[in-house]
Symmetry: C2
Subunit: 556 residues, 2 copies
Amino acid sequence: MTAPVTGGAPRCDRAAAPRCDLTAAWAALAGHYQAHGRELQLAEAFTRDARRFETLSFEAPEVFADLSKNLVDIATLRFFAALSDECALAARRDAMLAGDIANPTEGRAVLHTALRAPRGAAAPFNAEVHGVQGAMLAFADGVRARAAAGELTDIVNIGIGGSDLGPAMAVRALEAYRHPALRFHFVSNVDGHDIAPVLARLDARRTLFIVASKTFTTQETMANAAVARAWFTAAASAAPIADHFVGVTTNLAAAAAFGITHTFGFWDWVGGRYSLWGAIGLPIAIAIGSEAFRAFLAGAHAMDRHFAEAPFERNVPMLLGALDVWYRNFHRFTSRCVAPYHQGLARLPAYLQQLEMESNGKSVDLAGNALPFATSPVVWGEPGTNGQHAFFQMLHQGTDVVPVEFIAVRRAAHPYADLHAKLLANCLAQGQALMIGKTAEAAAAEKPPTAAAGIDRNVLARHRQFPGNRPSTTLVLDELTPRALGALIALYEHRVWTSGALWGINSFDQWGVELGKALAGELLPRLDASQPGARLGDTSGLDGSTAGLLRRLTRR
Amino acid sequence: MTAPVTGGAPRCDRAAAPRCDLTAAWAALAGHYQAHGRELQLAEAFTRDARRFETLSFEAPEVFADLSKNLVDIATLRFFAALSDECALAARRDAMLAGDIANPTEGRAVLHTALRAPRGAAAPFNAEVHGVQGAMLAFADGVRARAAAGELTDIVNIGIGGSDLGPAMAVRALEAYRHPALRFHFVSNVDGHDIAPVLARLDARRTLFIVASKTFTTQETMANAAVARAWFTAAASAAPIADHFVGVTTNLAAAAAFGITHTFGFWDWVGGRYSLWGAIGLPIAIAIGSEAFRAFLAGAHAMDRHFAEAPFERNVPMLLGALDVWYRNFHRFTSRCVAPYHQGLARLPAYLQQLEMESNGKSVDLAGNALPFATSPVVWGEPGTNGQHAFFQMLHQGTDVVPVEFIAVRRAAHPYADLHAKLLANCLAQGQALMIGKTAEAAAAEKPPTAAAGIDRNVLARHRQFPGNRPSTTLVLDELTPRALGALIALYEHRVWTSGALWGINSFDQWGVELGKALAGELLPRLDASQPGARLGDTSGLDGSTAGLLRRLTRR
């Protein structure tokens, strides 16, 4: 791992995986950008090529991906393919899937794909995976039976980061499949304003708490779990803790000391942000039941097969990952907006923020060399049509280009056909508007709005023009089923792997979270008189701002 | 309004307000950036100047703003002040507050500040404002009395954009002040997956619907209102619509046709994203009651006085607005992360996305000239500590600098003092970590984590280094009261005005939302067989992508 990266011919030696910028294909791609890619006019490209949509849209399991409104053409994709070859993406993908150490700075394999391999598949750890999965799903179905019998009404998941965002996102997305007798609550923040209103709504004897922390030491999760246990003991004094708290953890001793006897484990080859497929997915399994959870896994597995087997030219996660690199390093776009046109996917952007920015928000390559190019963009967004009434103004008429990712779902899980048609019309119209824009001349030819009747027509037209040529991707699902959601998430996972692999970074560590954690530990005794070694308000050794804020926050 | 901008000496003639880049102060600021600002090292600056925190932190009503961890020093602020003078910010602010046409492309005054002026103040439209406010607050208190009597349990606000984001954000933020017998629901998206699960939880006879749409024609709102009315009629056949639906609208005829007799109005000098202070704030008033709502207004009014009266050097919204311009146009940062360390402010980033990106996501100046510089950044974020376990990796170790805005609240409204101390320790530690960073040498000197024990120590150290010198602002509230929330929101409003005024744009129109709306209208009959003039699946005249997606979405 210490040899500097030198580039050159494709190698499947992960220790010196070719970094994108050190390849001949990168130089060729740069030439293509200068000669052509930079100036591509989307609307003209459609006029010129009647088959552009067919050429640049792709089928993956459960997900149809229209890339045709992006600043690429088929030649660009061929340059992407050459880059993929030279960076040995296929060999490195195969090595990861086979269980090689794909996370070298933590000395770990990366095998979240193994969590969704069917029983008996030739996948690593298949027996162990199915052992835990079977126990977890049986427990989930047992909880559902208790709910049906009126014994349980509320599930509270206590976890943060990967132990929160994935389950919270998926339970919300699969609302149509949720057990009708169960409400779900997700407590994550160490801020007591998170747990307090949740507890206020619960009946202790009908509540199940899931405490999800791999190490059972995560500060936020343990603080909230302690609050929950104290509340539970006060509210349901005779009921045993062990009947109302389960743990998702590998630290059985700490769980037992807490009072938890029922735990589900996972492995060091599953990163937190890739963990919803195993025991961390327990709230999802309780919400939708074992059969639907298996469909969720099967959807992800189908996408894994596509990722593992489809040639680059039709490999949707790989194409999207390469597109992300193209936009980041050549077009120099700094963020991507995710706009799911499905209210159930309201928390998908927050989930993707962790998946993408924690994976690829890095500045050094695998060998520790500083990178001379940009990596993870900011990923952000809100559901459409809500976003249209908030920030879409900036997407259409702002000074920066922000590629937008629309997610459309063909069939609704509600009976309001007219609403669904309006939703889809808006989704298509936004991508269309971003692309075609409107000239000042066209705006001037229109009848001005009443309110603006007094303004000079040509000045007003310049306020009402749209530059157009702003790129977007549209992903289409037939229906937001457990299977489709599983495939969609796996698609994003592999896409993030692809851009990370091209950039030559370790997408599976997160050293950037350590410093703040350590500093918080040093500050805590200065803020909390009840801490061991407390020295409330002590500002010694601190910078002026931290000291000043500390004084402000600790004053009476 | 048709004269091109020419720059030059300060003028308070709004029709040709000096644009920042055409002033001498801008050139001076550019020189300062090149000579000094670009290279400022924050940690060194604190060492050099023991009073840096005191010099660069400011008091505004209810909000303390620490700007000292930003890439500025006192000299930078003096350049900002010169720019403010030359751009005639004070005169233009005064003109706006006095009711001049500050939104010229729509021919409107901009007077959301009038909505929070106390009764009898010398503010425009004071009598009209207090007439509506009195009626609205009396109604809100009446609703609360009915809730206390068990007659009402649920309030459903149907609105979108400014008729949704502000009330939803504020009701959540003021959870500690919410009437305990009332639950609040916000339906905004035209996606039926938004309203369907809400209706499923309601008792029709104990529910009040608020239909909020200035024109009573907003597509999403009217579609959802129609669904709600049909559901209500079926679920509570004998109960009169007029007892369970109220309107916030100026279109009394349309509301009456819908079946609504009780309406609250507002005025064309209140923009949607500035409207929560008036009748659009009805859900807030119901949640917290008239007295607390008046405190919310009083907090905003106190900030208005600060904005109107404080000299630029201590005017917090103006300083923040100038800082935003500095970061956008000199440092070229493209986004800003808002991290409220209070779970109640979970929806503040979404609210600010509309406030800021819809206001300032523009590419032409007031006279219609194309701007040669960047305007609104992307504003995004999630509450801390949650964000720390998601995207903070990228903030600390990613390749782009993203200024972070921390919001800390000194006193909690819950009894868990240990959790609150942990929350504040984390908030301070994150800003500290972003600033001080960690060198590879320091990382190499530490004991490596167990999992990474096998890796070369120096390589690992390069993965564990932090560049530091990443800027942040910290806003501190003493407590998240209605008054403090009002002040905080008004602070943001005036800050957005300041950057917009410096950029010379109209922050109060939103022409960029029109094109997508028009195109959606053209697409709808192709997607909905029940529409007048429906032609399901017809793709004539469409670009290849829109046509292809339409076929995909309408196939059986």
